[in-house]
C-alpha cells in the first residue's frame, strides 16, 4: 500500500470518527444553523403549497445511483423523505422525478417510507416517484408536462445535472413556481445561478435535509464540513506563505 492509500484511509476514518463525536456533542450542545435565505424561503414555500392545495416537485437529477455522481441524489432523497412527511396528508402530496430507473426506485422507496412513518401508507402511490426519461435531455423535455399537469408551485432540483439543469430550472421559473436548484457540478451551479430563483452553491446541495428538520448527524455534519473547510483554508494560506518565503 502506498502513502496515498494510507492517507485516504486516515482521512475517511478521521472524518467518520469526527462525525460520530460531533453527533454525540450535538445532543448536548445543539447547533444553531446559519440563516440561509434559500432554505428559509423553502420552508415558507412548502407551507404555502400545502395550504393552497398545490404540489411540491423534487427532482433527483439525471445522474445515476451507481456512479460517482450519486451523492447529491442521496442527499436529495433524504430531503424528499422530509418533504413527503410534511405533505402526505395534503390534497396534492410531493411528487419526485429522476432521469434514471434506479433513482426513480429510490424516490419511490423514500416516499413509501415517509408515508408509512406518518401513518398514511394507504395514500402512497408508486406513480408519485417517476422516471421521466432515460437521457438528460429527454428528462428535461418531459419536465414541463409534470410541472403543468400536477399544478407544481415548488420546484426543487437536488441531484446531479449537466447543461439540461438550466432548462429544468427555467421551466420552473416559467411556471412561476418557487425554484431551488443545486448540483454537484460547478458548471451547472453557474447555470442555476442564472436560471433559478434560489441557487445552491458549493456544498449547499448536500445540506438541504439538515435545514428541513434534519437529524442530529445531519446537523453535526454541517459543523464538521465548516471545521474541515476552515482547516483547509488555513493549510492553503500557510502553504502559500511558506512557498512565498522559499521554505517549501
Amino acid at each position: 500500500m502506498t502513502v496515498q492509500d494510507w492517507l485516504t484511509i486516515g482521512i475517511v476514518a478521521g472524518l467518520a470518527a469526527a462525525l460520530i463525536v460531533l453527533t454525540v456533542a450535538e445532543r448536548r450542545w445543539p447547533t444553531t444553523l446559519r440563516r440561509g435565505a434559500a432554505f428559509e424561503a423553502l420552508d415558507s414555500a412548502i407551507e404555502r403549497a400545502v395550504e393552497a392545495g398545490e404540489r411540491v416537485h423534487l427532482s433527483l437529477g439525471t445522474g445515476s445511483l451507481i456512479g460517482s455522481d450519486c451523492a447529491p441524489a442521496l442527499a436529495g432523497a433524504t430531503a424528499l423523505a422530509k418533504i413527503a412527511e410534511a405533505t402526505t396528508l395534503s390534497d396534492r402530496p410531493v411528487v419526485a422525478s429522476a432521469g434514471d430507473g434506479a433513482l426513480a426506485v429510490l424516490a419511490q422507496d423514500a416516499l413509501r417510507g415517509a408515508y408509512a412513518r406518518t401513518g398514511a401508507k394507504e395514500h402512497y402511490r408508486a406513480t408519485t416517484g417517476r422516471m421521466l426519461g432515460p437521457t438528460p435531455f429527454s428528462y428535461a423535455a418531459a419536465l414541463p408536462v409534470i410541472l403543468s399537469s400536477e399544478k407544481v408551485s415548488v420546484h426543487l432540483l437536488t441531484g446531479s445535472f449537466g447543461a439540461e439543469g438550466a432548462l429544468a430550472a427555467d421551466m420552473g421559473e416559467r411556471q412561476k413556481a418557487f425554484v431551488l436548484a443545486g448540483s454537484d457540478e460547478i458548471q451547472t451551479q453557474a447555470l442555476f445561478f442564472t436560471t433559478a430563483e434560489h441557487a445552491l452553491i458549493g456544498e449547499e446541495v448536500f445540506v438541504t435535509g439538515a435545514y428541513l428538520q434534519g437529524s442530529g448527524m445531519q446537523r453535526a455534519s454541517l459543523r464538521l464540513q465548516d471545521g474541515v473547510r476552515l482547516a483547509l483554508v488555513a493549510a492553503i494560506l500557510l502553504g502559500t506563505l511558506l512557498r512565498t518565503l522559499g521554505v517549501l
Binding site: 500500500m1 492509500d5 485516504t8 475517511v12 472524518l15 467518520a16 462525525l19 445515476s64 445511483l65 451507481i66 451523492a71 447529491p72 442521496l74 442527499a75 423523505a81 434514471d100 430507473g101 434506479a102 426513480a104 426506485v105 419511490q108 422507496d109 423514500a110 416516499l111 413509501r112 408509512a116 406513480t127 417517476r130 422516471m131 421521466l132 426519461g133 432515460p134 437521457t135 435531455f137 429527454s138 408536462v145 403543468s148 399537469s149 447543461a163 438550466a166 427555467d170 421559473e173 460547478i186 451551479q189 453557474a190 447555470l191 445561478f193 442564472t194 458549493g202 456544498e203 449547499e204 446541495v205 448536500f206 435535509g209 437529524s215 448527524m217 445531519q218 455534519s221 473547510r229 483547509l232
Partner: protein
Amino acid sequence: MRGGLHYLWTALAILFGTLVLLGYVFEIPALQSIRNLLMQWSVILSAAALLLGLVNMLSVHWNKVGAQEKGWPYSALLLLALLGTFIVGLIFGPDSAILSALFNDVQQPVEASLVALLAVTLTVAAFRLVARRRNASSIVFAVSALVVLLGTGPWLVGGDGSWFQTMGALRAWWSQVWAAGAARGLLLGVALGATVTGLRVLLGSDRPYGD
C-alpha cells in the same frame, strides 16, 4: 416486523458499503473480488431498475390516456413510440439499421434542438437575473460573463485590433486566476459535502432506501 426489516436493510447497506470502500483502498485480492462482485450486481440491478422505470413511465402515461387528462394525446404518442421502439428492438436487435435510424434521425436531432434552445434560455435568464436580482454577486456574474464573451468570441469589426488583444488578455487573467481559484474552492466544498453524505449513509444515519 417492519422494525426488524428496517434494521436488516440498514445493516446490509452498512456492510456492503463498507466492503466496497475497503475494496477500493486495500489491495487484498479477496476484498477486491468481493468489491468487483458487488459492483457487478449493482450494474445488473441498475439495468433491471431501468426496466422498472420504463414500466413506471408506461403506467403514468397509460393512466393519463385512460383518464383523458389534459395533454393525453402526447401521452398516447409516447406510448406508441415506446412500444414501437421496444418491439422493433426485440425483433431486429439493438444494433439493427432501423433502430440506428430511429436514434440518429429522431432522438439525436430532438436532443440537439434542446441544446440549441439552451443558448436562448441562458441569454433570456441572464437578462432576467440582472433585472430581478440587482446585488453585488449578480453584477460580478454578469460582468464576468461579458468579459469572457468579449475576450473569446470573434468580433464583427476590430477583431485584430489592440482592444481585442486586451480583452483576450483580460479574459485569460480573469478565468485562469480568479475563476479557477473560486472553482477550486467550490470543488473542495463539493468533495467535502459528497464525502460526508457518503459517510452518513455508511453509518446508517441517512437511509434514503426507506424503511
